[in-house]
Amino acid sequence: MFNPFEDFKEFLSKAKTLPLDRLSADHDQIMAELTSGYGKLVEQELKSLVWFVEHNRVIEAYKTATEVIQDLSYDAHSIEDFCYVLDSGVDIPYLISGPAGIYVAALCNHVAEDKIVLRLGEMKRTLHFLGYRLPYGKSLRIEGDTGNFTGSALQGGDITVTGATGDWTGAGMTEGKISIQKNCGRNTGEWMQGGEIWVGSRIRGLGRITSGQIYQAGEAVVDSLMA
């Protein structure tokens, strides 16, 4: 009997395997691992049901995040893609901005590349704690807005935010530089012990600054002598 599909038989075996297949599969695997790591952090942090921003709590969360990611293999672009995974809510059981931001900060601090660019302009929500503890030698450029505690406890890194930041920017930073092209919120530079914060536009309020410099539109509003 004549098989009307005979002509198409050869097509079944002709599809090539391209490097794209492996590259996209690897990327999916990395996203799955990063998501799983975030899940472990949230599991740890949710034990007390409510997540408060307390000094010890933040340190503890960062420590957990560092432990969770230590065996993961990822690059700077994966971090950006993971931020969008967090934003989409798909496969993410709970998005808590605090731990999520600490987790992303830990990823940035431990990634192999020294120069990290996160294009977050299309995210529907902002993450807190981005740039937390960014060490010396690393630069983080964030395209878009960020939440509270941006660049807090900065340890010599260089952070640029093309949008605006929330409250407590640069809180507790010891050294390094934060450049914000638009506005920043209240308590900017709270407990700041060194380093510089450059704000392109309005600063809603300054915190209690121990040492360091803050500039608004190129003019110094706080310098170390004032402290």
Partner: protein, 528 residues
């Protein structure tokens, strides 16, 4: 048949290419599993791009082919171009609906029409090319190996090199390419997410290159919306209206592409002439297309009597009787009383129940308490549109009375018409302000003939009591749909509970309105 421009420069070469095209085309079709697209043709107009697609026909640029055949066999060039063109048809975008969705997503991210067009075109090119290389063993890599001309092309070439695993001699920015290589281009389910990632990767390049013409962005040319058939445009707009996040998103996309999307319809009357164009109200199109996703079956009313007097029998004519009923054929050509016959007319007898569809007067509230249909999805407009469509489908006429504070002039009345376009135009009108019905006007329209009344409002009407009592005195069937649980709604329900001709449907959420129109109203108005 392959056609060429009459002003070709090298007839022999063109003839050879035509022969080659005719020989290659069956093989290309076989390789792509016989897509239903016509034989491509050549075009000799000067253009920097390789091809364009119009009405599903691939148009190959002779200039480009001549240039490429200096370094590559003509067969390779043609095969590669045809693979690219056919892959757009068989893989990405596949149809206008997908194309619109991709463009809308790009526009949402980039906020600029030209950038969104470029980004969408580039993404579709990468998907189509990768599909052709992976699934159809295309010779596209040979074509691309000839080099890139713009920074964007350089990056795309470098991307191909990485994802196809071939040496194409690229010099593109690897930092950008690294962002693009792991995108799952061939996974159709993830195209929206993939497009967003793709745009994040190439956005700086696109913005730097924004001064160039869209055609120059890529050698394969831009993918205009003229390639789709009118039926496909109708279908795609219907789907896009359903999927768009808000009327504003639909309007934004529609206005961007309006000139191209209308092209097939305009082409049907290509005669010359003068006169202003006919701008299309995108809001109206949005609600028209959205309403087409729903169908409201309608119950025809039993007829009470035809009222039609038909010639029944003859009787002798008398002088006092009118001439119009004279029957000259049975009067021997004479006009004489007693001899001349006149038709005796009687009213027609109707056996069983003969049904007809009454006309409908849609009364829609567009006061300040109602949603503005231009910025948010107005279920009042949608509900009114669905009801109007239901009557139009049964060849009945629809009148629209759109009001806010009608006695103060906040009203627009469209007399009974079959024109769907006019009906939606009036439905989409938004007045804002207070809410009061001009009852004299409404009831005079309703009493003119046997019409149904469809009222859709939040019942925050200042003369609500008079409205209810006036409607109660009417013999017309009245369907009232109220939005929300405002106090007026309860008063309306209580006041109209005893009236058999009024049916009230309440909704707690505006989203329920289309469901009520299609469900509950059906039980009253409908159903076969």
């Amino acid at each position: 048949m392959a056609q060429t421009n009459k002003h070709r420069k090298d007839p022999e070469q063109v003839e050879d290419l035509e022969k080659l095209l005719k020989r290659l085309w069956p093989e290309i079709r076989r390789r792509h599993l016989y897509p239903e697209i016509p034989l491509p043709r050549f075009d000799d107009s000067p253009s920097p791009v390789a091809m364009e697609i119009r009405n599903k026909q691939i148009i190959l640029n002779l200039d480009y082919i001549r240039t490429m055949t200096r370094s590559l066999p003509a067969e390779t060039v043609l095969e590669a171009l045809l693979d690219h063109g056919v892959s757009h048809y068989t893989c990405c975008p596949w149809d206008l609906s997908t194309h619109l969705r991709l463009y809308a997503r790009a526009k949402e991210i980039l906020g600029d029409r030209d950038l969104a067009r470029k980004a969408t075109d580039l993404f579709m090119d990468v998907v189509a090319d990768t599909h052709a290389v992976k699934e159809r063993q295309s010779s596209l890599p040979d074509l691309y190996r000839s080099g890139a001309q713009t920074p964007v092309e350089e990056v795309i070439l470098a991307l191909y090199e990485r994802i196809w695993g071939l040496d194409l001699g690229s010099k593109g920015d690897q930092e950008t390419v690294n962002r693009l290589v792991s995108i799952p281009y061939l996974d159709k389910r993830r195209w929206m997410m993939s497009l967003a990632r793709f745009i994040r990767g190439i956005r700086p390049l696109l913005e730097d290159d924004n001064g160039s013409l869209p055609d120059e962005q890529t050698r394969m040319g831009k993918h205009g919306f003229q390639q789709y058939a009118p039926e496909e445009i109708e279908q795609a707009l219907r789907e896009f209206a359903r999927e768009a996040g808000s009327p504003e998103q639909f309007v934004e996309v529609f206005e961007d592409l309006q000139s191209e999307l209308e092209m097939p319809i305009q082409n049907s009357s290509e005669a010359m002439g003068h006169g202003a164009g006919n701008p299309v109200d995108a809001n109206r199109i949005y609600y028209m297309k959205l309403a087409e996703n729903y169908a409201l079956p309608l119950l025809k009313m039993p007829m009470k009597g035809s009222g039609y007097l038909h010639p029944h029998s003859h009787r002798p004519w008398e002088v006092c009787q009118p001439f119009k009923d004279l029957d000259p054929w049975s009067s021997f050509g004479k006009f004489l009383p007693g001899i001349t016959q006149i038709w005796e007319r009687r009213e027609g007898q109707i056996y069983d129940k003969k049904e007809k569809t009454p006309d409908c007067l849609v009364i829609i509230d567009s006061s300040g308490s109602m949603v503005d249909p231009r910025s948010h999805l107005s279920y009042a407009v949608l509900g009114g549109g669905c009801a109007a469509d239901g009557y139009l489908r049964h060849d009945a006429r629809v009148a629209v009375y759109n009001f806010s504070d009608a006695p103060a002039g906040g009203k627009e009345y469209l007399p009974f018409t079959h024109s769907r376009s006019l009906i939606y135009q009036v439905l989409c009108r938004y007045f804002g302000g207070g809410t009061a019905l001009d009852l004299e006007e409404v009831t005079s329209v309703a009493q003119e003939s046997e019409v149904d009344i469809f009222l859709i409002t939040d019942m925050q009407i200042t003369n609500l009591d008079q409205t209810v009592s006036r409607f109660a005195r009417l013999k017309n069937r009245v369907t009232a749909v109220h939005v929300g649980k405002k106090s007026g709604a309860l008063r309306f329900i209580k006041a109209s509970v005893k009236n058999q001709n009024i049916s009230v449907f309440g909704v707690n959420e505006t989203n329920d309105i289309p469901r009520i129109v299609l469900g509950s109203v059906r039980s009253y108005l409908t159903c076969d």
